[in-house]
Symmetry: C2
């Protein structure tokens, strides 16, 4: 499948994307030093602040979640590439309002390398920074070996929970503990039905043919070994939700959050059908769904498929969720 | 290209979709009689109310725009099909709070047939209803023959403007005049780079091969005669925006609204690049961009491409735009 994308120059994709994103949302964010997407609420913040880093190409993630009640700064790398550590250190210094900075990192090799180098340097400089890593993809390692688990879309609701805790006036240690607890109580699995192409190189992420889907596909086309003929929405959800319920674990009486994250070319029609099937499946197990996200949140270009993220929530998480947020791609009143 | 969608039964697509949509947004909407998506704010409304009708398969449109500051009721047909007139009449009776109902219809044969039959019947019954039709696709007829122009995504921002006018306490005639003025001052053109498949039949909407795009593609795959090799984002925007600017017309000193509506498989990365190129193009003509929508608004399943909608706005429209809305897919504070 040839690449057919409306772009100008593969070399300036990220620059042009960020320019457009900020131009379209100039009431919410501003662009600093070329690749820091900064919330306009940061200048008046007097609290712990929240920073993340990651490659572009997954829009609206990650920079689309900068704004009131979520991220203070997103440090954008190039397409599918981590930013360099010095830029992240600059962002942390810009974000720090005297209460410290929570640095959130999704577990991918490049992002982790940058994150670790940043942490060494900020310690040297005596900055007050805590790092929390999300690593919830159940397809490539068991929970006991979570350092090998990729970070998928489950990080996005965590941004809101951590930011709300910060707005409550919690200390950096408290905000980091809340974020870590959230990360420890969720899990994600992805499925792909048709692969995407890399917008800079035009290379395909794989070929699933005309019949198959692959359960366990990572967000850059990394395979998970679950290639099988495409099933119905309900059957696919049952396979995926069952695996997540066991992993977290969720049991009868628990409260759950459900995210259907469209990876690019899967319609919202399908996503709502999948959501409904997931709610019915969980209800059948006695698990109550108390909140959700359905839509394109962390995409893989024009890949057809979705990520299913489940999280075990308590009343404290739910109360934080039900507070305002106003970002490019996530808004609650 | 085989159909690879996460669905269950082609016969129950709309029913399952609406169930999921309402389940995921039960704070905003409720489902009445199977296919009326009704705003939870309707019960306390004491004003003109706004109703629309249309087929599913274009999510988030149309039902995703029900909620505070937009639609009161969306009457959902089956996939790409208009609902029957009696259901729309039921919706109008449910919506009418004693101030009359504005019925918004996009110009497509089936929707118009239903809309016209509804108007005949409501007149007979003495109901207070005004119908406004959006018909802004410049690709298939000149402005002088606008009855032949299809209604595309330009209807969506109109929902907000009309609903805000209603909330201001305007009469039905006044709200209808505001909606008609909005409809008269906007234009849309679509481009497709890769066609979608019908989710119920599996039939393809066309084949644009590995090289071509088609400018003027309608939202069910209707061709517009503008097939040509894919160009850069900037070149594509210049062709499309130039045609819209001439049609509306927009001239130096005017204020404009810009919508980039992704049709399904075009990434948000591309959409932000296109938006930036469009702003620069219009600025070069002395036209000031005062508001925007960028994202998947009215989709064509997994079609790759986008609709560009431009509208000439005055300060009154801008003031109405900058008021709160809280729907499934459109939220402003």
């Amino acid at each position: 499948m040839a690449m057919k994308k409306f772009i100008n120059d593969p070399a300036t994709l990220t620059k042009e994307l960020l320019e457009g994103m900020v131009l379209a949302n100039s009431d919410i964010v501003e662009l600093v030093n070329g690749n820091l997407v900064v919330s306009k609420t940061l200048k008046d913040a007097n609290r712990v602040t929240v920073v993340t880093l990651g490659g572009t190409g997954h829009e609206p993630a990650i920079s689309g979640f900068v704004g009131d009640g979520m991220l203070d700064i997103s440090v954008a790398g190039d397409v599918f590439a981590a930013p360099n550590p010095q830029v992240v250190i600059d962002a942390i210094k810009l974000a720090d309002k005297g209460h410290g900075v929570l640095l959130l990192v999704l577990n991918h090799a490049g992002d982790m390398l940058t994150g670790n180098m940043v942490m060494k340097q900020v310690e040297k400089e005596g900055l007050n920074v805590r790092k929390v890593v999300t690593q919830e993809d159940i397809s490539n390692a068991p929970r006991s070996n979570s350092d090998d688990r990729r970070g998928l879309a489950g990080a996005i609701p965590l941004y809101h929970i951590a930011a709300v805790a910060a707005k409550e006036g919690k200390t950096l240690d408290e905000v980091a503990a809340i974020a870590q607890k959230y990360a420890d109580n969720m899990a994600t699995i992805a499925v792909a039905a048709r692969c995407a192409t890399h917008p800079a190189t035009g290379a395909s992420f794989g070929d699933l043919g005309e019949v198959d889907m692959e359960i366990g596909m990572g967000q850059h086309g990394e395979g998970g070994g679950g290639r099988q003929p495409l099933k119905t929405a309900k059957e696919t959800i049952e396979i995926m939700a069952n695996a997540l319920v066991k992993d977290i674990p969720l049991k009868s009486g628990d409260k759950a959050f459900v995210m259907i994250n469209g990876s690019g070319a899967t319609t919202l029609m399908e996503q709502f059908i999948l959501y409904k099937d997931c709610v019915h499946y969980l209800e059948g197990l006695g698990i109550k769904v108390v909140a959700n996200m359905v839509g394109e949140i962390l995409t893989v270009q024009e890949q057809a498929g979705f990520q299913l993220n489940l999280a075990k929530w308590d009343d404290e998480v739910l109360a934080r969720w039900n507070t305002p947020a106003y970002t490019i791609a996530f808004r609650r009143k």
